[in-house]
């Protein structure tokens, strides 16, 4: 295990349905679509119908929707098509977009069946954000039409003058009521919605114990937990002291005073960015409680499993997580890497890669964020600068 360094597993987001189209996992087309014929699976294997978003080329929707990542300062054009039988939108929650791109029927626009749309905005602020449908929002969210947006910086700092970190770990809390998802047409009255499935990245219970869901860390290499909630519940994350957690940001803005979270409350729609640098050898869990907003009963506790990478018995997935230099202008190197695939921030594969002996030539590439998959296993983000 002495060679096991820089081993981080980006927490694979949710179930296989999420995993496949995740930005870090495979080729993505640049266009999202909305669908109303998908399924998620409960820990026992029971399928539950969902509505949601997916990448057009994948052809299926996921719970939660694909992670969208942008670089601070990027002018974003988010393409969207709606082949589903009802109107949908994309509300870019917390990105303070203008009225035209706000994704609210009545004040901006709906995307009707068969229509395409492009949402335009500038990713001015780094941080953790969300997106979701804003048509009949109470229903469309509980059906699953939501995802996370990350706006990051090329130098792996949380914000200008902020701390550096090694890797992002997106963690999206949500819940659903099975009866509503089974019969959305009969779901009125909406105030009766009472979730009975409580999820982290679309999974719960034993699903979160699978090896691919465990968050691995290397001591001294902080992980940025990107915590966001689309739940109907109030989520309380109970941070064990061994995680050495510090909260730096909320809702895409730096906090005026940092704090070390003990019980971090996350209300519906809120986001927090927490850096953790766990004690060497730590292998434990971060319990996340889901409390009813109506009667303050504890509905469920779901656990994020976190483990020192040195303890893993899995084959190291990649040596040299970030590559170096990163950000880069001309070359980026991953020691011992044999094969590489690269996608740009819109999910388009980069063709004709110049890659030899672990060195990727990026000279002449457009500036921006890219995702590389190394040796078919490990996916990492790197940034090309001027």
């Amino acid at each position: 295990m002495s060679t096991v360094k820089h081993i981080f597993h980006i927490l694979v987001l949710s179930s296989a349905a999420w995993l496949a189209p995740s930005l870090y996992a495979q080729q993505q087309p640049p266009q999202l679509f909305s669908g109303m014929e998908g399924y998620t699976f409960l820990p026992g294997g029971t399928p539950v119908p969902i509505w949601g978003y997916g990448w057009v080329a994948d052809g299926f929707i996921t719970l939660p929707a694909p992670l969208l990542t942008y670089t601070q300062g990027e002018s974003v054009q988010l393409n969207f098509t709606n082949p589903s039988p009802e109107s949908h939108t994309i509300h870019l929650h917390g990105l303070d977009v203008d009225q035209a791109n706000d994704g609210v029927p009545g004040t901006s626009f709906s995307v009707t069946t068969g229509d395409d749309a492009t949402y335009s905005f500038d990713a001015d602020y780094p941080g953790t954000f969300l997106y979701h449908c804003h048509v009949t929002t109470t229903l469309h969210l509980t059906m699953g039409m939501y995802g996370m947006v990350l706006v990051t910086r090329p130098d792996f700092t949380l914000y200008e003058g902020g701390p550096t970190y090694a890797e992002d770990v997106p963690l999206l809390f949500s819940d659903l009521e099975v009866a509503t998802n089974l019969d959305p047409v009969g779901s009125y009255p909406f105030h009766d919605i009472r979730p009975d499935v409580f999820m982290i990245n679309g999974e719960s219970g034993s699903q979160l114990e699978a090896p691919g869901r465990i968050v691995h860390f290397e001591p001294g290499q902080p992980l940025a937990l990107r915590l966001g909630s689309m739940a109907y519940s109030r989520v309380v994350c109970q941070f064990p002291p061994e995680l050495n957690a510090t909260c730096y940001m909320s809702d895409g803005r730096p906090l005026p005073t940092l704090f070390e979270p003990n019980a971090l409350e996350i209300y519906p729609g809120e986001r927090f960015t927490v850096l953790i640098d766990p004690e060497p050898g730590w292998d434990g869990s971060l319990p996340c409680e889901f409390w009813s907003m109506v009667d303050e009963t504890l509905e469920s506790t779901e656990n994020i499993h976190i483990r020192d990478a040195a303890l893993t018995i899995e084959e190291p997935q990649f040596i040299g997580v970030k590559g170096y230099p990163n950000p880069t202008r001309e070359h980026i190197t991953w020691d011992d890497a044999r094969q590489i695939e690269v996608w740009n921030a819109y999910g388009k594969p980069v063709a004709d890669l110049r890659f030899e002996q672990g060195v990727l030539d990026v000279s002449g590439w457009p500036i921006g964020t890219y995702v590389a998959r190394i040796d078919g296993r490990r996916s990492v983000r790197f940034v090309v600068i001027e």
Partner: protein, 269 residues
């Protein structure tokens, strides 16, 4: 700004927003019925007083709901003069704390050091959740079953439910591009609420239950049950932007969407 005595009338009347509740209680500025509770103002750090007239047919217990003043029982037809302590700038809840009084909605806010009609412009949002069945019990003179599950089905800002929130000049934020405004928010309901601002981040200026969040810039702001909070909004882009509870059962009226705790910010270019 009013420093000293002004009057608050406990009145019983009808409320069009909730058809199931034949009668509700309100705190009004005069003996004339209004379905909206009156919001009071005081200067910061100066003690003052307030006259309370109980025009209702039952006794009620009034309190400044911050734990510093004990409840004062006022019999039907009686008048009480209550002392208000010197308070720092902020938003404070006040109202009736007896079951019927709070259950029927006689709750409002005291704005301290926040001057309406001034600069920055000041708006206020009295938030509340309501269960029609519970309201029906109270308004018919019987106490609701304390063991029954609470299932709120109406949600209001300034005793208005969307879309009539847009007709209330305090619930609807209407400002010019570049303006700064303050919003005094009080949660009188039986559950926490969480306001999401489209288009803007707001800064938390004051809070009695979450003081560690003062100074935070947020687009999604939890307002805990019993909390008074003051927010600052800088209208840095023109347009029409919703503000709503992101606990999405609360953007409904009797179960139907859209409704409830939903309003707008209108920024004129």
């Amino acid at each position: 700004m009013t420093f000293g005595q002004d009057s608050l009338y406990i009145l019983r009347g009808t409320w069009n927003q909730l058809p199931e509740a034949p009668e509700v209680l309100r705190l009004n500025a005069s003996a004339d019925w209004s379905e909206q509770n009156h919001v009071f103002e005081r200067e910061a750090d100066i003690a003052s007083n307030l006259v309370i007239v109980n025009e209702d047919t039952t006794s009620h217990v009034w309190a400044l709901l911050m734990g510093e003043i004990e409840g004062i029982t006022i019999e039907p037809g009686d008048t009480a003069v209550v002392d208000l302590p010197a308070l720092p700038m902020g938003t404070y809840r006040l109202g009736l704390i007896d079951g019927e009084g709070s259950g029927l909605g006689a709750q409002s806010m005291l704005q301290v050091g926040l001057q309406s009609g001034g600069d920055p412009a000041l708006f206020h949002w009295n938030l509340c959740d309501w269960e029609a069945q519970q309201m029906t019990s109270w308004s018919s003179g019987s106490e609701p079953d304390p063991n029954a599950a609470y299932v709120p089905n109406y949600f209001s800002i300034n005793e208005q439910t969307y879309p009539t929130t847009l007709e209330d000049p305090n619930a609807l934020i209407s400002v010019a591009l570049g303006d700064t405004c303050w919003i005094a928010v009080a949660n009188h309901g039986q559950m926490d609420h969480v306001l999401h601002f489209h288009g803007f981040h707001v800064e938390v200026l004051t809070s009695n239950l979450q003081p560690t969040r003062i100074g935070w810039s947020k687009d999604t702001v939890p307002i805990k049950k019993g909390e008074g909070m003051t927010l600052q909004l800088v209208a840095n882009q023109a347009g029409i932007y919703p503000v709503h509870d992101h606990n999405l059962i609360a953007v409904t009226n009797a179960g139907f969407y859209p409704g409830g705790m939903l309003t707008q910010i209108i920024v004129d270019p």
